[in-house]
């Protein structure tokens, strides 16, 4: 039982004291049993108050500390650290949230907000009396990281982790690494091509001995926890022997009777079931796409390197941390959305990028030469009806950049931009300037009055009520309509569910806190980076990848990790193994164990989060949560009553 308590009540600037009378709170608790110090402070988290608290704890040998301030999400760790610096075990610190729970929630009623704050602080004092010194759980951490996804984000993260001396496994689902960037030609804002960039990164990757690259590989299961994840990965074979004679291969490709739309070119071209990589896709080795292959054997007869005896492989890897870099999909417009799939000259921006790359001299599509191009912005982003409320941030710049490049590469191109307000943020603005100076025409409408694409005897017309000219109706006869499609989460994002990663409102993977913990997830040991977290251009994806690599490294660098000791404990004697707790646990922390006498439940202490879900379901009351014992909870309830 702690008997000498320090209680600090924070103004939070005015965030709390504007609505809660903090002095009144102080007066109401200063005579509570055990309270030795009760103070108010402008910013409890400020450096000077922290210093003062350390002194108070040390000089008075306090044995329990309470700070009544903001959410524990923000500052629980701050004040635990203060307590520790005061030479008191940090678990003797209890946090009371009187900002989110009192001042902000009841800003309309100051008296009752104050009343509630008093109760909250009294409850915290009741709890801190029972607080005990605890020691963090120490676990081993394996110095290796799995990078899921081999786009620019994944490759950069892998290089960084390799530099820092980690063993790295890149797990790429496709036959080739490089991700989306390998599909783009000239990139904003440097005009380097995607293939050049990916080639640079790949050459750097393959010279490193501590990086293993798995292509056509997916994670099929994951168990374990931070410091010690056990992944099972499944590799689909390429059905081609390591060494391959390219001359013969081309003949084999020609012989293959199967033709499928080429994903790399977003279906504007087709390829065979046996095919070679594009420049910028690595490794430089052909594959047989077994899903589409009919096993007719035509290629096998021509090329001796075709090898249908190759088998799927399952590999086990063991890593201390997992870094997610699975990227995005371009939005696919619905049939009929701005004429998509209704008119054959309506394409998406990714398709247009491929068309520019694939055409020489003249820009042609389906045999017709293209002169007038209409770009319709924000397709699949900033939706009024649909669920993609967000702006995809890369697309204004990418569209303008592509339009400029089309004009530079081909003659007689006229660009008409049907926008919702151009968002070339930062230095990207100069591209917008450049395109305006090159004579591109910009038109704009609002969300409630989008442009309309209609077909009239062989012609495609885009019409808009242009707000830049006082809502004049404008019409452009377009040879090609390019839909500036946004970024959406990967269609098959099941890997997220496998790792139990939470998603944001935008359905991309979500970080814990945008500013304080921007690459961490609520699943300990798993970081996120690149466009799987939300739309990003390459620079932004790389910045986040390196931040995530640093974070993942910090989990594994020391070979050991400390975890919260606030977890559930099961009393073996009382447990009857009814399985109820194991079903209730959202983190799979409960396992069955057996000895000579009985079958019973045990908690895996490195997985348990101390969420408490298992406690109420136990029929024999065999489970106790450390730091939330019955006496603690009951005394808190008494204080609140």
């Amino acid at each position: 039982m702690n008997k000498k308590l320090g209680v600090y009540i924070c103004h939070c600037g005015g965030n709390i004291s504007d609505y809660v009378d903090v002095e009144k709170v102080r007066l109401s608790v200063e005579n509570e049993e055990g309270v030795f110090i009760a103070k108010t402070t402008m910013f409890a988290c400020g450096d000077s108050n922290q210093k003062e608290m350390v002194e108070d704890i040390k000089n008075n040998h306090l044995d329990g500390v309470v700070v009544a301030s903001c959410s524990p999400k923000l500052h629980l760790l701050t004040f635990r650290a203060v307590t520790e610096r005061g030479e008191l075990n940090k678990y003797n610190y209890i946090h009371a949230n009187i900002r989110e729970q009192a001042s902000w929630a009841h800003s309309d009623d100051k008296a009752r907000a104050t009343e509630k704050a008093i109760h909250i602080v009294k409850a915290a004092i009741a709890k801190v009396r029972y607080a005990e010194s605890l020691v963090p759980i120490k676990i081993k951490s394996i110095k290796s990281v799995a990078v899921i996804g081999g786009g620019v984000a994944g490759m950069k993260a892998a290089i960084e982790l390799s530099n820092l001396g980690c063993q790295v496994y890149i797990i790429e689902r496709e036959y080739f690494v490089g991700g989306r960037v390998s599909q783009w030609d000239a990139l904003f804002t440097t005009n380097e091509t995607g293939k050049e960039l990916v080639t640079r990164l790949y050459n750097d990757l393959v010279k490193r001995r501590n990086i293993t690259i798995y292509t056509s590989t997916e994670v099929i299961s994951c168990s374990g926890n931070i410091g010690d994840f056990k992944l099972k990965i499944k590799t689909t074979p390429r059905y081609i022997k390591e060494k391959c004679n390219l001359g013969e291969l081309q003949n084999a490709i020609d012989a293959c009777p199967v033709e499928v739309p080429d994903d790399f070119n977003f279906h504007i071209t087709s390829r065979k079931a046996i095919y070679h990589n594009f420049p910028g896709e690595y490794p430089q080795s052909p594959v047989i796409d077994i899903k589409n292959c009919t096993r007719c054997g035509a290629c096998e007869k021509i090329c001796e390197n075709v090898d249908f005896s190759q088998k799927e492989e399952i590999t086990d890897i063991n890593v201390g941390s997992v870094l997610m870099a699975t990227g995005f999909d371009p939005y696919t417009p619905a049939d009929g959305e701005f004429g998509y799939n209704s008119f054959d000259n309506v394409v998406t921006l990714p398709q247009f990028k491929r068309m520019i790359d694939l055409s020489d001299e003249k820009l042609t599509f389906k045999g017709r030469e293209i002169k007038n191009i209409a770009y319709i912005y924000c397709v699949g982003s900033r939706q009024v009806e649909g669920e993609n409320k967000y702006c995809s941030r890369y697309c204004c710049t990418s569209a303008i950049h592509a339009a400029i490049n089309a004009k530079k590469k081909f003659r007689n191109i006229y660009n008409f931009h049907f926008t919702r307000g151009i968002r070339t943020y930062g230095k990207q603005e100069v591209l917008y300037d450049e395109s305006s100076r090159m004579g591109d025409i910009y038109l704009q409408s609002y969300e409630n009055d989008p442009p309309v694409v209609t077909g009239m005897n062989d012609k495609t017309v885009v019409r808009i009520n242009d707000i830049l000219t006082g809502k004049r109706e404008m019409e452009v006869e377009a040879d090609l309509v390019v839909l500036i499609t946004g970024m959406v989460p990967r269609k098959d994002n099941s890997v997220g569910s496998l790792f139990k990663l939470p998603k944001g409102r935008d359905r991309f993977f979500n970080e814990i806190h945008m500013k304080l913990r921007p690459v961490e997830t609520v699943i300990d040991g798993i970081t996120i980076s690149g466009a799987c977290q939300g739309p990003k251009n390459i620079m932004e994806a790389v910045n986040s990848a390196l931040s995530a690599a640093t974070k993942s490294y910090s989990y594994v660098s020391k070979g050991e990790l400390e975890l919260e000791p606030i977890i559930a404990r099961i009393d073996k004697n009382l447990c009857t193994w009814c399985n109820a707790c194991s079903q209730a646990c959202p983190f799979d922390a409960v396992k069955m164990e057996e000895d000579k006498t009985k079958v019973f439940a045990v908690i895996n202490s490195s997985v348990c989060k101390g969420c408490g879900m298992c406690l109420p379901v136990c029929p024999t009351d065999a489970i106790n949560l450390i730091a939330y014992s019955n006496s603690e909870i009951e005394s808190m309830i008494d204080a609140l009553a």
Binding site: N15, Y390, R393, M514, P518
Partner: protein
């Protein structure tokens, strides 16, 4: 930190202790590297520590900056010099630099000051408070702001009359007028430049009348009025102290405008204006807020939703270009603007105008390297020679850039850019060992 540390040495020098520099320093220190932060100002924390709430989550900025700042300031592997400037950086050999640092005297013994503020009370001199962006005054003996780190007084010697009142008032007797400039020569292996940005000075746009008309303020001044460490306990217009009820925001002030030499977009001002508008509607429920814009650039995670939320709260968005602002007799302001939707020139009266000033490059570090050139880009930000593959690299091997020193960005992007810079620096240090 008294006396000369002739031969001090660190792994990394971080120039600038804003959020970007601080984050980079923490990443490095947490991974076992020794870091020195040189901060020009009297406190670390940069602009972020002075903000109100931050978009798009509306977290209290002080509340998320102070724990970082205090973690930085007590980290055993981080040394901080405030009120200091780097004078010169010379590349010594393939993996080391020699840095000359000048530490300006604070005239207060840092280790002994308790932050009691008695000197402040005693001091008779009143000057404009730069930390409140000149909205109010401060003393010549002063603590920069409540959550400054270190929370230690300083004597503004230019304005001090040497009356000695503070010396007498100070209980621990830590005011020391004999302090002098100190010079340090320090060995460093790698450098991160995180000197941040400057705000556009609206005096450069006379047609807006800033400086002439008292009720035109900058967004940073409004930010201070909304912050927890605010100068007044409410929102006032500076001309006559009236609580405003018709607020106008003028976006793109000093940005996207080749005529004033800044053609680029500042990336943050749309969003911070939308944020301030929401906060104002909370603080002054009766006020009308109008935002005059060219394009609203709410491009980041959660930004578009934040913009929609502002519209839902009743913030008035007008797509319009401001021609001229003039003052009426009652101190109100008349905005003449081109209403783009209606293709008409119109006028509107407001009782306070907030100029959403843009982000301008801080060129302090450009001249620090006498031997090698630290290249700047065409907008005078630190040049990134390889922005796609290694965004943190600069034109000098071993020198990296973090945060807004390389271009406009918001806090989340500054933090990720700092992560990128610290990560490149770690790789560099390991390779060049």
């Amino acid at each position: 930190m008294q006396g000369q540390i002739e031969e001090a040495s660190y792994d990394v020098l971080v120039i600038g202790g804003g959020i970007a520099g601080g984050e980079a320093a923490l990443n490095l220190a947490n991974n076992g590297f020794k870091v020195l932060i040189i901060e020009k100002d009297l406190s670390i924390g940069g602009k972020m520590i002075l903000l109100s709430k931050v978009f798009p989550t509306l977290d209290c900025s002080a509340c998320i900056t102070t724990p970082k700042v205090s973690e930085i300031s007590r980290h055993p592997a981080i040394t901080i010099f405030t009120g200091s400037e780097v004078q010169k950086i010379i590349k010594k050999d393939y993996n080391s630099f020699e840095v000359e640092v000048l530490k300006n005297p604070r005239y207060v013994i840092e280790e002994e000051c308790t932050g009691c503020q008695l000197c402040e009370q005693a001091c008779p001199v009143i000057v404009k408070d730069e930390y409140q962006f000149n909205l109010v005054g401060r003393k010549a003996a002063f603590i920069p702001f409540t959550i400054a780190s270190p929370k230690v007084a300083a004597i503004d010697i230019e304005n001090c009359t040497l009356c000695g009142a503070c010396e007498k008032a100070c209980p621990p007797k830590c005011i020391d007028f004999t302090q002098e400039k100190e010079e340090y020569r320090i060995k460093i292996k790698s450098i991160i430049i995180a000197t941040g940005f400057k705000l556009f000075d609206p005096l450069m746009m006379p047609r807006y009348g800033f400086g002439l008309y008292k009720n035109i303020i900058t967004s940073m001044q409004m930010e201070r009025q909304l912050a927890p460490t605010r100068p007044f306990n409410t929102i006032l217009r500076p001309g006559d102290g009236k609580v405003p009820c018709k607020v106008a925001y003028v976006l793109c002030t000093g940005s996207r405008d080749a005529t004033i030499g800044n053609p680029i977009c500042s990336q943050i001002c749309c969003m911070y204006s939308i944020k301030q508008a929401q906060l104002l509607m909370g603080a002054l429920p009766m006020a009308d807020v109008t935002i005059y814009y060219l394009n609203i650039r709410s491009f980041g995670k959660g930004f578009e939703e934040f913009y929609e939320q502002a519209k839902g709260m009743g913030v008035n968005f007008v797509k319009g270009k401001i021609g001229k602002i003039s003052e009426l007799e009652n101190g109100n302001l008349m905005l003449r603007y081109e209403d783009i939707n209606e293709n008409k020139v119109k006028e509107a009266e407001h009782d306070i105008v907030v100029l959403s000033v843009g982000v301008i490059a801080n060129q302090d570090t450009a001249a620090l390297f006498p031997d090698e050139q630290l290249k700047l880009d065409s907008f005078n930000f630190i040049n990134q020679p390889d922005p796609l593959a290694t965004p943190a690299r600069t034109s000098i091997d071993g020198v990296f850039v973090a945060g807004t020193a390389s271009g406009p960005m918001d806090i989340p992007d500054s933090i990720l850019s700092a992560g990128s810079a610290s990560s490149e620096a770690m790789s560099y240090l390991i390779q060049k060992k």
